[in-house]
Subunit: 244 residues, 2 copies
DNA sequence: TCTAAATGTCTATTGATATAGACAACCATA
DNA sequence: TATGGTTGTCTATATCAATAGACATTTAGA
């Protein structure tokens, strides 16, 4: 770890930069031998800052539930995880990470109907203004939120998808009930940005965190678009894997 | 734009949060009609902050060369770009974005030989300690840095790759000269993190910026690993596209 | 049971961040 | 050329971020 110095006067507080770095180190397994973060005085020396600054960083990580400080002993690592999320022609949320966690769940946050914008119409290959069903969903792994997605479906084929999804908790199953036995990922676009307010709330992130944004188009086996979605993943909890 | 409020007391200064948001809006094309950012007083109202805070944000964007303030007129948008970088079985740097820019270039920053770590050995399917060639390269598009990569090659097959790369400026061409007529992408892993000091320097980023990290394995047509690389992209300049 | 090592708490000080207000300088245009 | 709208600059004040030092409290182990 350490090695690189942290930057001052950048608009990002030192304690936050250090918190991000320590979180990365934990996820990387740097402290697996002891199961503890190095002592505050050692970290202060490594990062070249005051011990109080380190304490602010560790307090932020404790707030996230990643570490837990015990007086007299040290700062214990409570949780480390970065789920590997495969992206392929057969990308599905629960299948992809199913073997990495005990339980995956998908929750419907909201749903509604709206007319296709120019951008959405282009993606789904329908006319602008075509009625679409919009689903807002939250993907969880072991009761921790991992991703939050907005999906659009052509309303003529999938008018009842919100209902079906609510009962099944799975897009794949909902598609099956609505006459789409199988579907494939056509294209995925990946970007990264800072988390906005909604991300913080839904994904239980700490402010300043990073989200990976995946915009994806799924089509049925006749290559007709059935779903366009924008998913936002907590960047410190996931990794995308593309196998070719 | 706007809509979402910004967060206070998060360790990330308001001016930086606002700068990031305005940069995103510019890249999204929100101000294309006028070619200008809204007046400072309007932005201050929208974000619910003092005008001076907006000025700090715009000053940061001006420092990046994204906007240019003109007294009496307004703040002009100088540059907006986000390159689309395709990831497929045949992923290559210059080919992928070649049609989006006038010129792509790849520069050799450094090279050396090192013994394979456990992790590298696993990826390249060689024994730990096997000699590897390491190349540090910088990818440019229209003279602006886009990515910075560290690549490892088995030294027995590619001992001279640094020399060949220096003259050709292309991994693909270097492989060809060294007896690998073609190669394919086996797997790509994508994560996102805050830019470190080296990123800032090499990619000309502003502190606190985000980098997309792609770890990739390439193999020859006999499926023998030939290259493992870790590339870091300026997140506000690129987008990954996975076509299935 | 003593001691070393670790986290917890407190005070004080400095610099960066953010707000507030006022006014100057400049530009486009009526 | 007068005016409204815009960026540029200055002063003042309050809060957050970071440093510095001292000492208390807890734990594990000699």
């Amino acid at each position: 770890m350490a090695g690189q110095k942290i930057q001052r006067q950048t608009g990002v507080a030192l304690w936050r930069q250090i918190a991000d770095r320590i979180r990365t180190s934990i996820n990387h397994g740097d402290f697996d031998e002891t199961g503890m973060v190095p002592p505050e005085t050692v970290l202060a020396l490594q990062f070249g800052v005051n011990r109080h600054t380190i304490r602010s960083a560790l307090a932020a990580l404790a707030q996230e539930g990643i570490v837990r400080a015990v007086q007299g002993r040290g700062t214990l690592i409570e949780r480390k995880e970065r789920l590997s999320f495969p992206i392929s022609r057969r990308t599905r949320f629960s299948q992809g990470i199913g073997d990495q966690v005990r339980e995956t769940r998908s929750v419907l946050l909201a749903s509604g109907e709206e007319a296709a914008s120019t951008e959405l119409a282009k993606q789904l290959k329908v006319r602008t203004g075509t009625p679409l069903i919009r689903l807002e969903t939250l993907g969880q792994a072991d009761h921790r939120p991992v991703s939050r997605a907005t999906s659009w479906f052509p309303a003529d084929r999938f008018g009842d998808i919100a209902e079906v999804y609510r009962t099944t908790g799975s897009i794949t199953k909902a598609f099956k009930e609505l006459g789409v036995p199988d579907y494939v990922r056509v294209v995925t676009e990946i970007t990264a940005t800072h988390a906005d307010e909604s991300d913080l709330a839904d994904l239980q992130l700490s402010p300043g965190a990073i989200v990976l944004v995946a915009q994806a188009l799924n089509a049925d086996l006749d290559n007709v678009p059935v779903q366009y979605s924008i998913s936002r993943f907590a960047a410190d909890r996931v990794r995308f894997t593309i196998e070719n």
